[in-house]
C-alpha cells in the first residue's frame, strides 16, 4: 500500500540551535502503528510536527496524502480549553472543520462514550483527573475520524497504572477505525507494547539508529509483556539506544 505520509532525506535546521533532524527518511503506511523512540533532543517532536504538516522541512522532501482534518495530534499535556466542557472541547475540531454545532456536539458525546467518559460530558478540564483529561484529549483527536493519529509522549505525565490502561485503550480504539498511529515516547516498554514497528532515533540531530519489528497481534493479548517476543523486542530496542549512546562516548 502507498504510504499516507513519507519523509525522504528530510532535514530540519533551526536558526538558533542548528540542525534538529536529519537526514531522516521515514514513511507510514495506512493503519500501521509506529513508535519513535530516542533520547531527549533527538528531534522526535520535530519529526512529529513534520508528519502533522505543522512545519516544513529545510531540506529533502515531505509528501502527505492527507486532507484537512484527517490528521490528529495528542500533545504531551491534555491541552484542553479550560473554559469549555469536556464535550465542547471534543467538539471543537469538528466545529473548526465546519460541522454545525449540534451535530459536532452529538458526535463529541459519542467520542467521549468510546473513551469511557460518558458521565463526564459536562465536566470542565479542571474537574478531571490527569488520566481523564488525557482521555478527553484522545476523544478529541479521534472524533474527526483521522487517517493519521500522532501522539507526542502522551502519557509522560501519568502514573504507571494509568499509562498501561491508556495504552490498552488506545489500541482498542485503534482497532475500531484503524488510523495510522505514530507516537513518540521515551519508554522502551511502551514502544514495544503499543507499536508494530519501532524506529530508534539517534542523539540530535536525529537520524535513524535502527528499526525493530514487534511480533504479535494488535491490540495486545493479556500478559503480552511476559512473552519472549516482547522481551526480546524490548531488549533489541534498548541495545540499539545504548549503541548510539556508546558512539557518542
Amino acid at each position: 500500500m502507498d504510504p499516507i505520509v513519507a519523509l525522504d532525506q528530510v532535514e530540519v535546521d533551526y536558526p538558533d540551535r542548528g540542525r534538529a533532524l536529519g537526514p531522516f527518511s521515514f514513511s507510514v503506511a495506512p493503519g500501521e502503528i509506529v513508535a519513535l523512540v530516542g533520547p531527549s533532543g533527538s528531534g522526535k517532536s520535530t519529526a512529529l510536527r513534520l508528519l502533522a504538516g505543522l512545519e516544513g522541512p529545510t531540506g529533502g522532501s515531505l509528501r502527505r496524502d492527507l486532507g484537512r482534518g484527517e490528521t490528529s495530534v495528542v500533545f504531551q499535556a491534555p491541552t484542553l480549553a479550560p473554559w469549555l466542557s469536556a464535550q465542547a472541547n471534543v467538539a471543537l475540531p469538528l466545529e473548526l472543520s465546519g460541522m454545525p454545532k449540534h451535530e459536532a456536539h452529538a458526535q463529541a458525546g459519542l467520542a467521549l462514550d468510546r473513551v469511557g467518559l460518558a458521565a463526564a460530558r459536562s465536566a470542565r478540564p479542571a474537574q478531571l483527573s490527569g488520566g481523564m483529561a488525557m482521555r478527553v484529549s484522545l476523544a478529541r483527536a479521534l472524533a474527526t475520524g483521522p487517517k493519521l493519529l500522532l501522539l507526542d509522549e502522551p502519557f509522560a505525565a501519568l502514573d504507571e497504572i494509568t499509562r498501561r490502561t491508556l495504552a490498552d485503550d488506545v489500541l482498542k480504539l485503534w482497532a475500531q477505525s484503524r488510523p495510522a498511529i505514530v507516537f513518540v515516547t521515551h519508554s522502551v516498554e511502551e514502544a514495544a507494547y503499543m507499536a508494530a514497528r519501532v524506529v530508534v532515533m539517534t542523539r540530535g540531530p536525529g537520524r535513524i539508529a535502527g528499526e525493530i519489528s514487534i511480533p504479535g497481534e494488535l491490540p495486545r493479548p493479556q500478559a503480552f509483556r511476559a512473552t519472549p517476543g516482547f522481551r526480546q523486542a524490548a531488549e533489541d530496542i534498548s541495545t540499539c539506544l545504548a549503541q548510539d549512546a556508546g558512539d557518542v562516548r
Binding site: 484537512r68 482534518g69 504531551q76 480549553a81 473554559w83 473548526l96 472543520s97 479542571a126 474537574q127 474527526t144
Partner: protein, 255 residues
Amino acid sequence: MNRIMNGLAPLVLLAVLLAAWEIACRALQVPAYFLPPPSAVAIAMAMDAPGLVAAAWNTLSVALMALVLASLLAQAIAVTIALNELLEHAVRPLASVLQVTPVVAIAPLVLIWAGIDHPERAVITLAVLVAFFPIFSGAVTGLHAADPDLERLFDLYQAGQVQRVLRLRLPSAVPFILEGHKVGAGLAIIGAVVAEFAAGSGGIRGLAWRILDAGNKLQTARMLAALMVLGLMGVVLHAVLDRLEQYGLKWWRGR
C-alpha cells in the same frame, strides 16, 4: 477564631491610630484649620452627609461610566489589532505613550476641547484615558497567552484568524481582562478626581470639588471628611471588583 482576629486586626490598628491622633491634637492644642481631631472630622462628615453622598455619587458615576467606556474601547481595539499583526505593531507604541502621559498634563487640553460649558465631558474623557490602559494591556497580553499547543490544534484544522481570535485567544485572555478591569476601576476613580481638580470648582460637583471648596474656605475638617469618603469609596469598589473577578475566574475555570 483566626479569621476573626485577622478581620479585627486592621480595625484595631485604625482605632489606635485615631485615638493617638485625637489625643495628640488635644494635648498639643493643634489649631483646627491645621489638623482637626478625628472627632471634628466625624462631626463634619455627619453634618455634611447628604452633600458628601451626592458628591461621592457624582464622582463614582463618572468613574463607572468611564470604566464601561474604557472597557468597550480597550477590548474592541485589542481584538481588532489581534486580527492583524502589522496593526498591532502600529498601535502598541501609541498606547504606551498614552500610558506614560500624566493625566494632569493633558487635562487642560481636554477641557478646552470639551468646551467651557461641558466640563463633565472632559472629566469622563480623562477618566476613560486613565482606565483604558490597564484593560487594553491586559487584553493584549491575554490575547497572546493562549496555550501554544492549542494554537497548533487550530493550525492543524486550518482555522481562520477570526475563528482563532474569537474561539481561542479571547477566551484565553479572560483572566487577564478581569485583572485589567480591577486595576482600571481604581484608576478610573483617580482619573475622575484628578480631572475634577483640573476642571476647577463649580463645574462638576464631585468629591474633588468638595475638597477644593472646603480647602478654599480653610475648613480642614470638611476636607478630611471628603478625603475619607473618597478612600472608603475606593476600598469598597476594589472589594466589589475583587469579588467579581473571583466569580468570573470561577465561571471561566469551572471551579
